[in-house]
Symmetry: C2
Subunit: 290 residues, 2 copies
């Protein structure tokens, strides 16, 4: 990623949402911020194409949902929108997709207010993965499928900064010669990727797992389903097992800047890349005007 | 906590472990550091009493162990010791215990080297908790007792910066009117606190759970066991169930700056505070000269 623009959002009572622009390389976080000492905060990443923030509303909705799950203050939607739009305005036209990552931490330990910022950047070019597909391994997420209900303090379904496990899973995938991961619950429910949502094709139906499993509501998956439905495809939210993944006609991982990446290998077994559905989803995803 | 002194450790090849002193309130972390964007890093907190860094060796050992579990570079022990000692030197005599927290993150995303620092601070005075005891609830950690073996990418047993779950568990405890937490595995093994180790007394024997459960090797618990053994107490590393906790004669949570805090209430039931063993452990813990 290539950082372009940084706007720090003053979330103190007196600050009233004031924005200050900084060089993205400039240190702006003290070592006593709970974001860095505890991963205690939340984030979202929004793709920017043709100057448009894609799925801004759903990302803000999910940010609010994560804030509630972590007992953080309700984000002021107007302030955050202003910060995100300021960061997006600095993104030039480029073959690579632009993106804005926005973050709210619990703030300085012992302090009175959260820390917030929005970072505009250029993401990696996803065209190779979209065309050629990705190699994926399934990995145990360790949790039962129902922990979001039984044990909400485990924060499953919140997009928190505490992503060390997600990064460790990515390194495990690399050790196994793969590009990405699908997490599976300890009782064999297909969950999500470390930073993506699973879509599986069965005949003329597209399926994704339900958020009740403690996974993130996929903003890109939701728009991909809208695209598929516009082309007459049936969509279904349904539990999947690892065996179901083996049976599926085709598989994708969806995320904001990558769009829909087809899976060409799962746990070492070659999979058919469905170029038609991939094209259909990504054409509509890239063309989103909101 | 009251921050006192901050030393940033240059972990680049050219930096060669150079230390720079900063005001602890000064921002020194850019928003592209993986420590703050992913909780992708490790830390330790060492108590400082009478100018002495207590259990420096075991803390450095555990730091190395965490680094290996997260595929971070092997810490240069001489450089880290220098940084930690520099931070400790700024801690004045005070009724509150001093401490040094040292942190290594994976560094700037796309960069070539980790970020490191040591922060000297005064911790909260533990004398009230030591004398009066703490109220504790048991909470599900969601993982089986054996995930450290089956699924090492879950990083159980690493002291990572991704502590949002530990903080959320603390808030759940507060909602239940308690001060702290003992985590229990999904298959009913007693694990550890969010930032402490469990000790249980059964007659003349002190028991703590084994690190094979994916818990941290307790540096304070180890020295507390040495203190108990010096007074003729038998010590044992052994699996415990929640039912065993109910049966125990007395219970403690141990951590660096707090020492051994006796549990006066567990899941709403009053527990006997063992003042004699508490005093015995804390006297020796506070008197450690290394």
């Amino acid at each position: 990623m290539t950082p372009l623009s940084l706007f720090v959002l003053d979330l103190s009572a007196e600050g009233a949402g004031r924005l200050t622009r900084h060089d993205p390389a400039e240190p702006v976080i003290p070592v006593t911020d709970l974001g860095v000492t505890r991963g205690d905060g939340i984030f979202e990443t929004i793709a920017v194409r043709g100057g448009v923030l894609q799925a801004l509303g759903p990302h803000l909705d999910r940010f609010e949902r994560s804030a509630a799950m972590l007992d953080l203050p309700v984000p002021n939607r107007a302030h955050w929108t202003e910060a995100i739009e300021a960061a997006a305005a600095a993104i030039p036209e480029d073959p690579r997709p632009g993106a804005v990552k926005f973050v709210m931490t619990r703030g300085i330990e012992g302090g009175s207010h959260p820390t917030g910022w929005a970072l505009g950047f250029l993401a990696d070019d996803p065209s190779g993965e979209r065309a050629g597909g990705i190699k994926v391994v399934t990995l145990d997420r360790g949790y039962r499928h129902d922990v979001a209900q039984t044990s909400p303090w485990l924060l499953q379904g919140a997009k928190s900064l505490a992503y060390a496990v997600n990064k460790a899973a990515g390194r495990e995938a690399a050790r196994r010669g793969a590009d990405d991961v699908i997490f599976v619950s300890s009782d064999d429910y297909v969950l999500e990727g470390p930073s993506s949502t699973v879509i599986a094709r069965f005949g003329d139906t597209a399926v994704t797992p339900p958020v009740e499993l403690g996974i993130l509501p996929g903003t890109t998956q939701a728009d991909a389903f809208t695209a598929l439905e516009a082309h007459g495809v049936a969509t279904l939210i349904k539990n999947l097992s690892p065996a179901d993944l083996v049976e599926a006609d085709a598989l994708w991982l969806c995320s904001s800047t990558r769009g829909a990446a087809p899976i060409r290998e799962l746990d070492g077994a070659a999979r058919t890349v469905d170029a038609a559905w991939t094209e259909l989803m990504n054409t509509d995803l890239d063309a989103r005007r909101r």
